[in-house]
Homo-oligomer: 422 residues x 2
Amino acid sequence: MSKSYLSMTKEELLNEYNSVKAEYETLKAQGLSIDMSRGKPGSDQLDISDGMLDVLSDGNFKCENGLDVRNYGLLDGIPECKKLFADLLEVKPENIIVGGNSSLSLMFDYVAQCMYMGAGFTPWSQQGNVKFLCPCPGYDRHFAICEYLGIEMINVPMTENGPDMAVIEEAVKDEAVKGMFCVPKYSNPQGITFSAETVKRIANLDTAAKDFRIIWDNAYCVHDLTDTTDELLNIFDVLPEKNKNMVVEVASTSKISYPGAGVSCIATSVENIKEILKRLTVQAISYDKVNMLRHVKFFKDANGIKNHMKLHAKILKPKFDAVIDTLEADLSGLEIAEWVNPNGGYFISLDVTGGSASRVGVLCKEAGVTLTNVGATYPYGKDPTDSNIRIAPTFPTPEVLSKAVKVLTTSVKLACLENLCK
Amino acid sequence: MSKSYLSMTKEELLNEYNSVKAEYETLKAQGLSIDMSRGKPGSDQLDISDGMLDVLSDGNFKCENGLDVRNYGLLDGIPECKKLFADLLEVKPENIIVGGNSSLSLMFDYVAQCMYMGAGFTPWSQQGNVKFLCPCPGYDRHFAICEYLGIEMINVPMTENGPDMAVIEEAVKDEAVKGMFCVPKYSNPQGITFSAETVKRIANLDTAAKDFRIIWDNAYCVHDLTDTTDELLNIFDVLPEKNKNMVVEVASTSKISYPGAGVSCIATSVENIKEILKRLTVQAISYDKVNMLRHVKFFKDANGIKNHMKLHAKILKPKFDAVIDTLEADLSGLEIAEWVNPNGGYFISLDVTGGSASRVGVLCKEAGVTLTNVGATYPYGKDPTDSNIRIAPTFPTPEVLSKAVKVLTTSVKLACLENLCK
């Protein structure tokens, strides 16, 4: 373990600065061009689902209830695909609407519906200022939905057990606070799974707003990386009667089959399902049922999906290891950065405590490594302490990743030393 | 040709009533159960696109610009699919966004965007009452979008050349009139194609609203039934500069490939495309690009689609003929009903002039034939003269259709005679 920068003398710091600066220049001279900005699977991951593409060649297009999936109809999805998602999320098929290729669209459309048509009461937009709680660091596209719809975002700090519940329990006393975005399992970007205690406290929230909604984005519900998997309590199992319509869960196969051509779903109370279908029946005739059948025939059941995820894990684990190993080798002991080693998900979150994350982003960019825009993990793109960096290790190969993370760790050190040597 | 009911004596009418009533009872006794309510292709039509389902088995998932269609990205669609639709609609690829399986969703989302975010100006919903012009009889799902979003609908009568332009030109002097829905080719339900003169007058409308939008639903752009095809003037070719953002066209392959699993598109000005993408970039990461590539590989180009449509026509023409032949044999000369024999599209529109359409609907239903809900072809489901009946002849076989239309014509006669014999 290296000596902490915080305990170095001025002279030691200057020596270290010169050495790190030289190393940075060497790395920069490699002329790298590596993109670690997006949580995108590699093409080897996509390949493992290609069997799906000719699974319909038997010419049988009837779904369980006898309807032809190629034709119009079945607004809430084909029965067998509803069952597949229901089993995966441990709810009943009646609680499921199967969507198109994007759970993001399901979330956008639902929040927009609450804004303009209401969530069982007067539309949010007609009740004055609307606020959402945003555990952060979090997913930039959740924040983008709020920003687009004119919803004020309130930062809620993440802890190792999920969002800070004391902050949330206090905030929901404000009737203008209408909802919250959560990624409860292998959170984006930290890979944190909400503890059972956190899930219970969320389920039992005593909100001033009668029309409070939690968007429970279970994007990584089966996205384990190791055999040491995190367990997420099923929030519907602990939801009290008074909050029965509070949770709207979404999931998708974007990172199970194809990001561009998967199937998504919404899981929520029957009452909410009815409200959503009132809109959906005007907005669409059905989602793509051929693709639903393709997924069901390929995966067969929830276990089929879980087994399939092991193939992904096999590809992803070495990539996560390459990042974690380099972070540990280069940064541990320096007391200038912290990170979580997640058991699943798509990201590694790095907190730079001794320098500015935005400076690290610039240094990486100049050396040919593109990170997720620094700040993007916070509402309005503003990280209040300019410390969080989201690493998306899934797309490059482990070898390329090691190079990229070397650039990153060197940039972290350099940014920190620039500060300390001022 | 039979003798007109209008020139019959009371006694002749009573005799005719007794004879038609007996015929109706005989038909009813057959115990039919025929659904002619929806514009749904038959499964033989779906079969002709099945080659599409293994067209990706070559394992080449790269689209023209080198991106893997299975992965994230390309919000506005893959280049070759943009080109395919651009060629089909005779616009440039830069004017195209390729969507998911539903042009209805593209329309819903766009009109909602205008309502809540605006069409270049203050959101419609913040400008007071919002009105739309609805040529009718028309498509019930257009009306449903207006109704859901709280847009007041104004009926505009259809003529054989399209909507009554004098009515429209007068109506758009009201600034609250923000838009209009049109099905310009083989209109739903009449199968009327707007004349060149109509298209030009629409293009040159002098609207009081600066943010007036025409939803140009070109659902049947290549859906010819015969070699005598209707020609629709390309409205973008005659659009004056002042109205350059006025037209938002949509189309889809719902009735080219699969209703449940086709590809849709929007065609409009580059300025409108930019406005739409501002929303779309928050709402989705991309539509299903694998399905886009599947369509491009299967159809190859716009000509491929046009040739494919001839296969549909071959199946559909005998069905339309079965309906028209029965209508002519049973109703011509009676002066109690009128219909259009369309050159394309998905419907035949029957106007009952001598009786009530709703009574005909009831009589058909009692004899086992389900029509589209009478009234559905008008805003708010209210046909002011209770005369229009939409016949959807695509799903049943010609033999079944003949039986069904026999029930229909007999019901038309009976409903009329019930009135005349009162």
